[in-house]
C-alpha cells in the first residue's frame, strides 16, 4: 500500500516532531511512507474564514498531489475533516482522494488493524478529544485505544472533555475574549487532572491550550498524541 504523509502546513513549520513521529510509527510497523514535496495547506483556514474562492486552488493542489496514493495520512483531525467534509463539494473528482485521507488513528486502527504500536511513555497523560476529531470525524475512542496500549502510561480522565477549547481558527482573534474564557475553563479542567501532559489529535487546539498552560505556568505540557505513540 502506498501511504503518503500530509504533514499539514502548521506541523511542517511549527511542529515537525509530530510529522517525524507519524513517519516513525508507520515505519516501525513496516510501512513505507512518502512525503510528496508538492503539498502545502489543506485550505481550511481560508474556507472557514469566509474565503472559499481562495481555498479552491489549495484543494486542487492537494487532490493533484495525493491522487496517486492508496492512503493519505495526516496527524491532524481538523485538516482531515476539511478534506472529507468539504473537498467533494469544492472540487470535482476530489471525492476519491478525500475518502482515502485518514487521521492517524483511523489509518492505524481501521485500515491497518493495529492498536498497539509498541510505544513506551511512563507519564501521566490526559486526553482532549478535539471537536473535529469528536464530532466531524467521529474518531470515538480510537486515539484512546492506541494510547491505552502504550507501556507505562497513566491515562487520566478529563472533565468537560467534549467541550471546545475555544480555538476555532480565526475565532481566537476575532472573539478573543470569549475564546480566552473557554480556554480558561479548559486549562482548569486539565489542571484538575494533575496530568503531566495533555494529548490531542490536533496541534491547532494544542497550540491554543498549550499557550494557555505555559502562560499560567501550569504543570501540564501539551503533546501531540503521535509523539506519545512514537516514543
Amino acid at each position: 500500500m502506498r501511504i503518503a504523509l500530509f504533514v499539514t502546513c502548521m506541523n511542517d513549520l511549527l511542529y515537525p516532531d509530530t510529522g517525524i513521529a507519524t513517519v516513525r510509527i508507520l515505519e516501525r510497523l513496516g510501512h513505507r511512507v512518502d512525503f510528496p514535496q508538492a503539498q502545502t495547506c489543506c485550505g481550511q483556514m481560508h474556507l472557514n474564514s469566509g474565503y472559499q474562492q481562495l481555498a479552491v486552488p489549495l484543494v486542487e493542489n492537494f487532490v493533484r498531489t495525493f491522487e496517486p496514493y492508496d492512503a493519505v495520512v495526516a496527524p491532524s483531525g481538523s485538516c482531515v475533516a476539511m478534506a472529507r467534509d468539504n473537498y467533494p463539494r469544492l472540487v470535482p473528482d476530489a471525492a476519491g482522494v478525500a475518502a482515502r485521507t485518514y487521521e492517524l488513528s483511523e489509518l492505524l486502527v481501521d485500515v491497518l488493524g493495529v492498536t498497539d504500536v509498541g510505544a513506551r511513555f511512563p507519564h501521566r497523560v490526559t486526553y482532549h478529544p478535539t471537536c473535529h476529531g469528536l464530532r466531524m470525524l467521529r474518531l470515538g475512542d480510537k486515539p484512546l485505544r492506541l494510547l491505552r496500549a502504550v507501556e507505562g502510561i497513566e491515562l487520566l480522565e478529563l472533565g468537560g472533555a467534549e467541550e471546545c477549547c475555544g480555538f476555532g481558527g480565526t475565532f481566537a482573534l476575532k472573539n478573543a475574549d470569549v475564546s480566552g474564557a473557554m480556554l480558561a475553563d479548559k486549562c482548569r479542567n486539565i489542571a484538575d487532572t494533575e496530568a503531566d501532559y495533555v494529548a490531542a489529535v490536533d496541534n491547532s487546539c494544542l497550540t491554543h491550550i498549550g499557550g494557555g498552560l505555559t502562560r499560567q505556568k501550569a504543570r501540564a505540557r501539551h503533546i501531540h498524541y503521535a509523539e506519545v505513540l512514537a516514543s
Binding site: 502546513c9 506541523n11 511542517d12 513549520l13 511549527l14 511542529y15 515537525p16 516532531d17 517525524i20 513521529a21 516513525r24 513505507r32 511512507v33 512525503f35 514535496q37 508538492a38 503539498q39 502545502t40 483556514m45 481560508h46 474556507l47 472557514n48 474564514s49 469566509g50 474565503y51 472559499q52 481562495l54 486552488p57 489549495l58 493542489n61 471537536c131 464530532r135 466531524m136 467534549e162 467541550e163 471546545c164 475555544g166 476555532g168 481558527g169 480565526t170 475565532f171 481566537a172 482573534l173 476575532k174 472573539n175 478573543a176 470569549v178 475564546s179 480566552g180 474564557a181 473557554m182 480556554l183 497550540t207 491554543h208 498549550g210 499557550g211 494557555g212 505555559t214 502562560r215 516514543s231
Partner: protein, 483 residues
Amino acid sequence: MNPLASGVPFPRAAKVALGDPQLRTNLRRATHTIRDRRAHAVGELPDWEALRTTAAAIKDDVLRRLPELLERFEERATAAGATVHWARDAAEACEIVSRIVRGTGETSAVKVKSMATQEIGLNEALERDGIAAFETDLAELIVQLAHDTPSHILVPAIHYNRAEIRDIFVREMPADADLTDDPAALAEAARSHLRRRFLSAKVGISGANFAIADTGTLVVVESEGNGRMCLTLPDTLVSVVGIEKILPTFADLEVFMQVLPRSSTGERMNPYTSTWTGVTPGDGPSDVHVVLLDNGRSTTLADEVGRQTLRCIRCSACLNVCPVYERAGGHAYGSVYPGPIGAILSPQLTGIGENASLPFASTLCGACYDVCPVKINIPEVLVHLRDQAPHSPAERAAMSVAAWLMRSPKRFAAAERLAQLGTGPLAAALGRRTVSRLPWPGSKWTDARDAPLPAAESFRDWWKHRDQTAGPQGHTHPVEETP
C-alpha cells in the same frame, strides 16, 4: 432598535457579558442543567436518529412546496371561520395586528410567548398605537417587568437567578413586599398577577409552533397553561405565524411532538399542547385572525445552502450546548434569536450587512449540529455566511497573500524559510520556542496565551536531509532521531 439586529458587534457585546460573573454563573448552571436533561431524554429513545431524519425530511418537503401548502392552509383556515392575512415584513405585520386590535375597541391584549411577535417588535409597535400587550409566559413576564429583553429562545429570563427575579417582582408587583425567592412563592405571585389579566382580557395574541395545511389548524406548545388561557378566554385571537411553520398534515405532528419537548426542555411529553382550528360557536374566540409572516424568509428559502435554517422549530437545544452562548449570553447576539441558530437565522432574515459579526460568533465546534432535532448543519451555514460577510481590507490582503504563497510548493517552502529566519534569532535569544507578546494583530492571541515560534528545522527540511542520507530508496530505513 431592530429586534433582529442591535447594531453592536458580537465581540463587543460579549465582552460586557464576560465581565459579569453573576451572569456567567447563572448561564453556566442553567445551560448545563437543561443540556443534561435533554441528553437523558434523548438517550431513552432507540430511534432518535431516525426521528431526526424524519423531522428534517418533513420540513424539507414543506420548504419544497411552501406556496402550495400555504395556500392550502389559507383555504382550510378560512373555511373554518378564521381570517388569513399576509405580511411581507415586520411593519406590515404590526400594522395588521394593530388594526385588528383597534377594531375591537380594546386598549390591551394578553400574549402567548411567541418568537414571531418578538421578531417584528409587536409589543413596541402596539404601545405606539396606545395598546398594552401583556406577556403571560412566566419567564417572558419577568423580562417584561424588568424592562429587559429576552436572552434565550425557550427560557427568556435564563440570565436571572431566583433572588434577582424576586427583586423584580417586589419592584414591579408591589402587592407582596414579603415575597421570598422560593420558586413556589414566585410562581404563586406571578399566578395571581396573571389571573387578573386573563379574566379581563378581550384580545389574545399568539404565535404558533406549527400550522397544519390540511386542516387550517394552529398548534401552540407550552409548559405552563398560560398560553391555553390566552387562546381560549378572549373574544378575539390574533396569531402571527412565520410561513415556515407549516406542516402538511395532522399526522406529521406526531414526529415533532416527540422531538420538540425532548430537545427543548428535556421532557418526554409536552405539558400543554393546544390545537385551534378557526371558530366554533360558544367555544373560545369568535374572531380568529392568522397573520402569515415572511420578513426575510422567502430570501432565505431561495438560498440553497441557507434554506435548511428554515427547518428550525425553535427548540433552543443548540443554545444550551453552545460554549460561546454559555460565556457570552443571549444579549450579545443583538437579536431576539440568540445562540448558534441566531447566528445563522438573524443575518439571513436581515441580510448579512445588518449582522455581519454573527457568523463569526462560533468556533465551528459542531455541538449545535449534533443536537439539532431537524439536522440543521449550522457550521455549514455559518461558513457559507462568512463567505458573504464583508471582510476588512487588511484581512483580505493577508488572506490573499497566504493563499498565493500556499498555491505553490516552492513559494510555500520559501515563506517557511523566511519565517524561520525572521523568528529563529528571537527563539535563540529567548531560549525557548514560545513568545508571550506579539505586535497587533498577534497581540489578540498573546493577550491570553503564549504563541509558538517556528521550529529550527521544518519537517520539509528534515525530510530532505533524511532523503540524502538514506539513499535513493530512502524511505524504508527507520531513522534514529533524538526526539
